[in-house]
Assembly symmetry: C3
Homo-oligomer: 246 residues x 3
């Protein structure tokens, strides 16, 4: 027998435990992301139990960076003021020892954005979440956990690896699903100190919720609502039944 | 017998009358709010019968401020250009005698935002809509009606008070519900000159629509669509059956 | 017999062919639009099979303009940085011979916006999509196809005209439906070189999808999800059965 049955049960249990802590503690998660991704990212965090904040105004970012319990830095549609807010926020997070996640959107297509993303790696993201092309372009070294998402999600870091199956093809036809997923990793980091575990459990929750929502939805329009409904109600039994390694 | 049955029937009737006027007159309502709140705020106003506009560009705001029939000033995610647009718009509204509503988002957590919110009170908002912590921090004096929302909504001003029950716990798991509600107060102010009545009726409509939508929705993902559908169809009979004082 | 039966069948077939090419080729469509319109515009493009990008940052726009296969310029909520991005992008599109669509939102209400829109006409939009009041204010001359949308959509240009019926009254109670429709015209331009055909087919797809979604939706809240679901699944048989000339 292979290791899968025990391992998958273990990850399903860890994911259920993270979700329980998230719902009980309702941590604040600050999200610096593109305007197109803000509504779904905020709603996913609220559905999961976290409290999102999203100000990217340089004059306000310090107050949020001093209080947040996790941070998302998403580089999609990177406007100058958000870039400045990121540069102000990261040293504060670093000093406070609070985890942040980098989502290097489309760094494979913009040299300027790639150079900026590389400069941010000095501030030690706990997790980098990207698709395969973005991860290959960025090639983050060092301690960060790498969560490469696609048909199979691949989590690697700290000498460990995990492959997760699940999700649904409709997810590729809904905007901001990637950024929203990065937000859930950040929320899990707020309640789970091990970055590999937080990233793996968040992606497992997304894969299971996405698979169930894809069965319920009538298309890409009804998918997001179904997805948030499922995620909000996701429990240990469902995770144990549905979790699959890649 | 207590005053409740007669009073609640009266408020239900007033709310139905406001909704009828709103649908008949389709007033323009300008909304200066955060990017994350814009889609739901616009859709709530459209569902209720108003015509929203949302430009926060300082170079364009004068034209909108000269024509709008009500204005929302929401301080969430307050970027510098929107701040400038607010400062330009309010004297125009004041001169025209057009009502505006202040939504002092998170002033309890940001001293800079609190100071800005206080400076805006000089321009006489018709209504301040906030949660209890924000209202306590701002402590608006003067003539403004105060609408403090929560499990029970509390409207106070001009020597009158009213407490409203209703709504649904799922509303706390959907982004921008507060801002969207402030937008409805502004829309009601465009068709109802008494600010206390406008605020109370708007919150009553939201409480009833929220309660019904919460019964229909499968979770926080499907809640917003259900909420807008219910609000769009809300009629006097439903209001009379469902309205409840706090 | 009038020309309608043959003509409508022909347009339904052309529309089905455009949709097939769009789904097969998945062109990149860059959309410079207002923040309130971004989520629905992105989701409509994804539902239809295109790949949207939306950066309006002047420092990044060149890279996107060099790669995109079509462009939307929407003037709603026109902030200074997006205005600058538009001015940078259009000469690149012109040099590359890539089609773009102008959506002159509310130029009938803002002289400054009208002047800016007029200056953009020098860069030869393939299509101008507007409501009747905006089109009358802008009065574009030259080669551009004009798509005037309303209860009946009127497409004119290159010596040809076409009137299309369909859609649903709920579409007027959903924000950003106009901008999202402009996005679909751009997506069709990426796979169909004749601008009149691209505009007519895109509006036909929207009219049929809107009519069906209006029958399924419970109100303006549930309309967008139904609309995207229908558009995603729209096929030649449905188009042939439902297409109607105006």
């Amino acid at each position: 027998m292979d290791r899968a049955p025990d391992e998958v049960r273990l990850w399903a249990e860890r994911t259920a435990a993270c979700l329980s802590r998230l719902r009980a503690e309702a941590p604040q998660v600050h999200v610096l992301t593109s305007t197109v991704a803000q509504p779904l990212s905020a709603n996913l965090l609220l559905a999961a139990g976290a409290r999102p904040s999203m100000s990217a105004e340089p004059g306000e970012i310090d107050a949020f960076a001093e209080r947040t319990q996790a941070l998302v830095v998403n580089l999609g549609m990177l406007e100058a003021s958000r870039r400045e807010a990121v540069v102000r926020a990261l040293p504060i997070l670093e000093r406070r020892g609070v985890a942040w996640v980098l989502d290097p959107v489309k760094v494979d297509r913009s040299p300027a954005r790639l150079a900026f993303a590389r400069s941010l790696l000095d501030h030690q993201p706990a997790v980098v979440r990207a698709n395969a092309a973005e991860m290959a372009a960025l090639a983050p070294a060092g301690a960060a956990v790498r969560a490469t998402t696609g048909e199979i999600d691949h989590i690697a870091g700290d000498g460990r690896t995990l492959d997760l199956a699940g999700g649904h093809p409709l997810m590729a036809h809904v905007t901001a699903m990637g950024c929203a997923g990065t937000g859930l990793i950040a929320a899990f980091l707020a309640v789970e100190p091990d970055a590999f575990t937080a990233a793996a459990c968040a992606l497992l929750a997304l894969a299971v919720a996405g698979e169930i929502a894809g069965e319920k939805a009538g298309g890409p329009g009804s998918f997001p609502a179904a997805f948030l409904d499922v995620l909000h109600a996701l429990d240990g039994d469902t995770l144990a039944r549905r979790a699959r390694l890649g």
